[in-house]
């Protein structure tokens, strides 16, 4: 056993544990934490595979942005982000049946791969430049410069689209100009429990603030 063996074993077990936690836990915030654990495990495996730049990008983009975005949405939805109760029994059978079928399919694929009889060959010693920032950057700004620049267009379109979809229709927004910032942003009560509760008017808020002091 060398350090590399232990590193691979620990990182892969961490990644598998996180993946299992993501799909099995009832609370979505625990699923998000499971996704974070998986991402950190895979970043460790990237280090093992001489992909230092990708390991850093994985931590910055996934752990720093994607998981935080998930957590924001879960916090915004509050208790409604969890699993609702009450489902059609036939739909549940279909869902679990599909899951079991896919598990069987993957097991069969793994069995066939293990029987393929190719001679495994050990990784060769990698040159120091493999996966370094310099070599990836040279590739990205050399032969892959057009897809790299197109990525910026993709990201700006995604940002504009996300804002447009999350804000909804503009004419509804114009009507509720006087409501609170939250109501303006979501043009309506975000939580179901707030549906019957009217938003306080400016005079009521002022009276409440005066009473609080």
């Amino acid at each position: 056993m060398t350090v590399g063996n232990v590193f691979f074993a620990v990182a892969s077990l961490v990644a598998l544990f996180g993946a299992f936690m993501t799909i099995a836990s009832r609370s979505p915030i625990r699923s998000a934490v499971g996704l974070l654990i998986t991402i950190v495990g895979i970043a460790a495996l990237f280090l093992m595979l001489n992909a230092q730049f990708l390991a850093a990008i994985q931590l910055i983009v996934y752990a720093g942005a994607v998981v935080v975005l998930f957590v924001f949405v879960i916090m915004l939805l509050g208790p409604d982000a969890g699993d609702g109760e009450g489902t059609v029994a036939r739909a549940r059978v279909a869902r679990y049946g599909a899951g079991a079928f896919f598990l069987l399919l993957s097991a069969a694929a793994g069995h066939l791969v293990s029987r393929s009889g190719l001679t495994p060959n050990r990784f060769k010693i990698a040159p120091v430049t493999h996966g370094s920032v310099e070599s990836i950057g040279t590739f990205l700004f050399g032969s892959a410069v057009i897809p790299f620049e197109l990525t910026t267009a993709l990201l700006i379109v995604a940002v504009v689209g996300a804002i447009a979809v999350a804000r909804g229709k503009p004419h509804v927004r114009r009507q509720s100009k006087s409501a609170s910032p939250t109501a303006r942003m979501f043009h309506g009560p975000l939580m179901a429990r707030d549906a019957q509760r009217p938003l306080p008017t400016k005079a009521e808020r002022a009276a409440k603030a005066a009473g609080g002091m």
């Binding site: 598998l16 799909i23 409604d80 896919f102 598990l103 050990r122 990525t151 993709l154 999350a166």
Partner: protein, 105 residues
């Protein structure tokens, strides 16, 4: 035993297990947020596979650059997907995927 982690097969098996877990989560769960997280799991498994094969064939950096672009596309996909989840929640006050039955006749 001292070969653990130095053969492509180990990474293929691990990525296959992660992809299977992600797809099972996508199929079995009906919470849209957890389904999106399962999609992220599958994308991560594919990234791991690409980087592992690039380690095996070290003539160029194509696999790692592919993984880089997949990460960029996944970030965009999550932003748009979560915006759609918010819009869906405003419509239905729920994030369960079987509530999305507007197109049912």
């Amino acid at each position: 035993m001292s070969s653990l982690g130095y053969f492509i097969e180990h990474y293929v098996v691990l990525a296959g297990a992660l992809f299977t877990l992600g797809s099972i989560g996508f199929l079995v769960r009906r919470n849209v947020l957890v389904q999106l997280m399962s999609i992220e799991l599958m994308l991560n498994a594919v990234n791991l596979m690409l980087v592992a094969f690039n380690r095996q064939h070290m003539a160029d950096q194509n696999g790692q650059v592919f993984a880089f672009f997949i990460i960029a596309v996944a970030a965009a996909e999550v932003a748009v997907g979560l915006a759609i989840v918010l819009a869906f929640y405003r419509l239905k006050s729920s994030v369960q995927s079987d509530e999305a039955d507007q197109l049912r006749h």
